[in-house]
């Protein structure tokens, strides 16, 4: 990478000037490398409106076919034949469908985390990639929704879980963690979609003014008549501020409630009071890993994005990933230690089964890819600024977090208090359906990259306006005006 060379140059210059040069700052930081507004808008719109290449079409057709077969056809088979075509059995009544649900909700977490928390704390490096992250929340929740509905035995009656007025005065059971789940996920989906939409409005208005034909109509409807007056900006900022603060507790509650599905049950291995924070940090772990992969893909495959997404952003996310990995390791240890210390004979059996059972390799692989590899790579600023390397770490973390959920759900269900029923779980139709959700997740990104600007241009411009380089004597410093 060119970055490495720059590092050595930087060191040389550091010795010569006791400070950084202007070029170095510009090269490194997006906020200090401003382009004229019109040029930047054009760059983003070019990426959106550019005629798709044949490669794009081939990708989309191939992925659509995969979704049609893996998701739609397989689901049809599942509904028509019954859950028997999946691998679930007694005692593993829950299998990969629930693993995928928890996994996708976890992925959806980091979107909001990056966007809302970094926005609330005004972390400047967030500016170019909040949109990509927020999309991850919405797209991830779509997959989680698919997975949970696939799981149900009679999905055509799923509306019974909604509280709606009916002749028989029947309500869902609000004692059930699944009811809490439904409410929490619905709240999260609605609020995160609104939170995705709000910062999109100025960009849609910009897109409306720069396009013609059907696109103009499309953006005109979506932009809700945004003209950029002071009043409109005030309303938008207020709304975004409210959502950014309000969505953080929602985000924490969602994964805590997902963990209660397990923690509230009487099963050994599930009945753990630390599951709430453990699941939240696990969700962030996999979500950050996914975010960095998506970011690297956006940078590589979408035109002009290498201007917006730079090594500094991978560096910043890499640091977050490292800290979250440490947090996850702590909570993993906490959960394990407390369960082991409890001394319950079934839990002991289960913990032994995790490590030394036929699927013990999953347990060790989980620890290697969730802890050892991130720690070994992300401590180094040069390595964690390398997009492909961080992406590999991100993918591995996601493999590890998927395995973690697999260990918690079907593997832990194998062991219960009735040894007569102990039996292993072998996945069936869950595998194509799981692949289907993954491909749909990527496909949504591929399609939306041609519909909406993947970079919140106005946020980048706002940040660039607030920063400027100024020379005091021989030293160049970054001058910041008060933001927002």
């Amino acid at each position: 990478m060119a970055y490495g060379k720059k590092e050595t140059e930087k060191k040389k210059e550091h010795h010569e000037h006791h400070g950084h040069t202007e070029e170095h700052f510009k090269e490194k930081h997006l906020m200090l490398d401003p382009l004229p507004r019109g040029v930047m808008n054009d760059m983003v719109m070019e990426a959106v409106t550019e005629k798709p290449s044949w490669k794009w079409w081939v990708t989309v057709i191939f992925m659509s076919a995969t979704v049609a077969y893996c998701l739609l056809y397989s689901w049809y088979v599942l509904i028509a034949e019954g859950v028997g075509v999946a691998g679930v059995n007694r005692p593993s009544y829950w299998g990969i469908f629930l693993v995928n649900t928890v996994f996708w909700i976890g992925i959806s977490h980091a979107g909001t985390f990056i966007s809302a928390i970094l926005r609330v704390f005004r972390a400047e490096f967030r500016r170019p990639f909040t949109r990509v992250a927020e999309l991850m929340t919405t797209f991830g929740l779509v997959q989680a929704g698919f997975s949970i509905f696939m799981h149900m035995g009679r999905v055509w009656l799923a509306y019974w879980l909604m509280p709606y007025p009916n002749q028989r005065m029947l309500w869902p059971n609000f004692h059930s963690p699944l009811s809490w789940d439904l409410l929490a996920i619905t709240t999260y989906l609605l609020s995160s979609t609104m939170y995705l939409f709000l910062p999109l409005i100025p960009d849609l208005a910009m897109a409306r003014d720069k396009t013609t034909g059907w696109r103009k109509n499309f953006y005109r409807i979506l932009a809700l008549g945004f003209r950029g007056t002071e009043g409109e900006w005030t309303h938008l900022r207020n709304a975004m501020n409210i959502f950014a603060f309000a969505i953080i507790p929602v985000m924490f509650s969602v994964h805590t409630i997902v963990s209660w599905d397990f923690a509230a049950a009487t099963r050994p291995g599930w009945n753990s009071t630390i599951f709430g924070p453990y699941f939240v940090i696990g969700a962030l772990h996999s979500g950050m890993g996914a975010a960095v992969v998506v970011l690297a893909a956006v940078r590589k495959f979408i035109k002009n994005m290498d201007y917006f997404i730079r090594a500094e952003h991978f560096d910043a996310i890499g640091k977050l990933m490292l800290i979250i990995s440490m947090g996850w390791a702590y909570f993993f240890f906490n959960d394990y230690m407390v369960q082991w210390y409890g001394g319950d004979k079934w839990t002991k059996q289960l913990l032994h089964f995790h490590e030394a059972g036929p699927l013990g390799w999953m347990w060790f692989l989980m620890l290697i890819v969730n802890i050892a590899i991130p720690w070994a790579i992300l401590w180094n600023p040069k390595w964690r600024s390398t997009p492909w390397l961080v992406s590999i770490v991100g993918i591995l973390i996601n493999v590890g977090m998927w395995l973690e959920r697999y260990i918690i759900i079907p593997i832990s269900l194998t062991i219960n208090r009735m040894p007569f029923t102990w039996r292993q779980y072998t996945p069936g139709i869950e595998i194509p359906l799981g692949i289907g959700t993954l491909v749909l997740f990527i496909l949504l990104y591929v399609i939306f990259a041609k519909l909406i600007p993947m970079i919140p241009v106005w946020e980048v411009q706002e940040g660039q306006m607030a920063h400027q380089l100024k020379k005091f004597g021989r030293e160049t410093v970054v001058q910041v005006s008060e933001l927002e």
Binding site: P91, Y93, H151, N173, S176, A265, R267, N416, F420
Partner: protein, 251 residues
């Protein structure tokens, strides 16, 4: 203000003291493991036959199963008693609160755990949370080749795929007996009827009846004469209504 001394401890009735209405005693010492109860239950309750493959994969749908354990390693094996296992009709059942659709509920009239097939959407949470692992799920619509459809019990619903089910203590028989007694203007007599498993048991290892009255057979079997009655996983606070007698002292 109420102080601690105002509370009369004798008035505080612990949930554990509350018994159910119907109960069962299973004498493991005389159970031969012949599986007649399993067959009778399947006939009585229209339980489908899942076939060899699904059955081997842990999808057998019997509402009652005979569990068999052994100690030691072959050839020095010591067999323990057979253990018939079915829904324990818990007084405080873990399966009930977790159902999001109220498909598994406690009936106040019979004091049993009911499974409302029509209302079940198949989340399978109840089965996960059942410490006894006695709930069975309709994984598919299983075939019933001729002449099996001719022996359907008209008193019991035939369930479709995607629905959870479990032992009901033959609630259709309970209702039939209650209706008959009501029309004759009397109470249900002890021993007037019994469940399919108890009826089929050749060694009389299963006894079913009222446990809320002191003059019934089951009540006396539980409370007098046998000191080795044991309820399964009672430590979880599930308040099961089935008592297992085991003279060997093994669980």
């Amino acid at each position: 203000m109420t102080t601690l001394s105002d509370l009369k401890i004798s008035e505080v009735k612990l949930a554990a003291e509350e018994g159910g209405k119907w109960g069962m005693v299973i004498d493991q010492d005389i159970c031969t493991g012949c599986q007649a109860c399993v067959a009778a239950c399947a006939m009585e309750n229209n339980i489908p036959f899942v076939g060899e493959e699904d059955s081997g994969y842990g999808r057998a749908m019997h509402w009652i199963r005979i569990e068999r354990f052994w100690e030691g390693e072959y050839p020095e094996i010591k067999m323990t008693n057979q253990q018939p296992m079915m829904c324990q009709q818990c007084g405080s059942a873990p399966c009930e609160p977790v159902c999001p659709a109220f498909a598994t509920v406690h009936s106040q009239a019979e004091e049993l755990n009911l499974q409302v097939y029509n209302r079940c959407v198949g989340t399978r949470y109840c089965a996960n949370n059942c410490p006894y692992q006695v709930r069975t799920f309709n994984w598919r619509d299983y075939e019933r080749p001729e002449p099996l459809p001719n022996q359907f019990n008209p008193d019991v619903t035939v369930r479709r795929r995607g629905v959870m089910e479990k032992c009901t203590f033959c609630i259709q028989r309970i209702h039939k007996a209650q209706d008959k007694a009501k029309s004759e203007g009397r109470d249900v007599m002890d021993g007037e009827f019994t469940t399919a498993c108890a009826q089929a048991c050749p060694s009389n290892a299963i006894t079913f009846g009222r446990i809320d009255k002191e003059d019934t057979l089951v009540y006396n079997m539980i409370h007098h004469g046998h000191s080795h009655g044991k309820k399964h996983l009672e430590e979880l606070g599930t308040l099961p209504n089935i008592v297992y007698m085991n003279g060997n002292g093994a669980a």
